[in-house]
């Protein structure tokens, strides 16, 4: 099962995303932003980082990269696409997902282990979770505040398209941001499109896939967290089914 991971200039987390695909049991395929070729992959991950230096707006220039024309077409045709952090920003800039990300309301870069409630387990990327399950994965960003107009927010809520919501129990953070790390509307951490094949989220599941290298899981020990792995095993199962 070939899963592509796109590298843009300034991408940081492509290697971890490729590794997550491998640990989940898939065949990771590195894709290059400048080539309009998806190399026969069956799903695509847009990883985190600061593509094109975040110039103009986070994700804005990447949205027009040659590979993205193919990703957008494939996503509209039903191919599973996951955008993590900068990848989520790119999905918003290409309008595969509604809304946009602006600077964190407290104006600082924030890195912490972040609990999320999984609210939609019908997507290609979240079928391996239980509805209502709280997972803990790393979060690290400066432009993480999800915004959308009231009509869009009502639509997302009404159609159950909020996939992940920030919830209490993070390691640390500025006063007033104990649960919601950045001021995102409705505590939204991740959303999906109407079809459920495209998912974007700000926190990083690819950094929580192998015991010994993940976030600290309370009660289970240092770096024990592997709550991100189910996103990658979910998509492999959705492709088989």
């Amino acid at each position: 099962m070939r899963i592509g991971v796109v590298t843009f200039p300034g991408t940081l987390d492509d290697r971890d995303a490729l590794r997550a695909v491998r640990i989940a049991g898939g065949e990771p395929v590195a894709l290059w932003h400048g080539e309009d070729d998806l190399q026969g992959v069956e799903a695509v991950v847009l990883p985190g980082g600061f593509s094109y230096g975040d110039y103009l707006r986070a994700g804005a220039i990447s949205g027009f990269a040659p590979v993205m024309e193919k990703v957008v077409d494939a996503a509209k045709g039903g191919m599973p696409v996951l955008g993590i952090c900068n990848g989520f920003q790119i999905l918003c800039e290409t309008h595969l997902l509604p809304g946009a990300m602006i600077k964190n309301a407290h104006r600082a870069f924030l890195c912490r282990d972040q609990p999320l409630a999984v609210e939609n387990t019908r997507t290609a990327w979240t079928s391996g979770y239980e509805a209502g399950q709280v997972i803990r994965i790393p979060l690290k960003n400066q432009d993480g505040q999800y915004v959308a107009d009231e009509r869009t927010l009502a639509e997302l809520e009404g159609e159950g398209r909020v996939v992940f919501r920030y919830t209490a129990g993070a390691t640390h953070g500025p006063a007033g941001f104990e649960a919601n790390p950045n001021g995102s509307r409705h505590d939204i951490a991740g959303i999906t499109n109407a079809a459920g094949n495209v998912v974007g989220l700000m926190p990083h599941p690819e950094h929580a896939v192998e015991a010994g290298f993940g976030p600290d899981q309370p009660g289970e020990g240092t770096r024990s967290g592997t709550d991100g792995l189910a996103m990658f095993t979910s998509v492999l199962r959705s492709l088989v089914g």
């Binding site: 103009l56 804005a60 509604p98 809304g99 946009a100 602006i102 104006r107």
Partner: protein, 90 residues
Amino acid sequence: MPRVVVHVMPKPEILDPQGKAVAAALPRLGFEGIASVRQGKRFELEVEGEVTEQVLASLREAAETLLSNPVIEDVVSIEVEDGAAGEAQA
């Protein structure tokens, strides 16, 4: 060469964290009496040839697709500056 200047601002209903940071720094430097700051972007586009209505329409489209994100920003103005006149004044 004529220049087209595009101004982009965060939508009024969108919180502007950058503007807030600037507003908070001003009184520390002794600049009092500024109630709020909003920070936007100015783009200067040098155009080859004449700025016809058709060219302007295409620049307007560029402003609304790449230079701004309509979800969070407004294109508040697109102005044509005459490069030759600008140089004459300088």
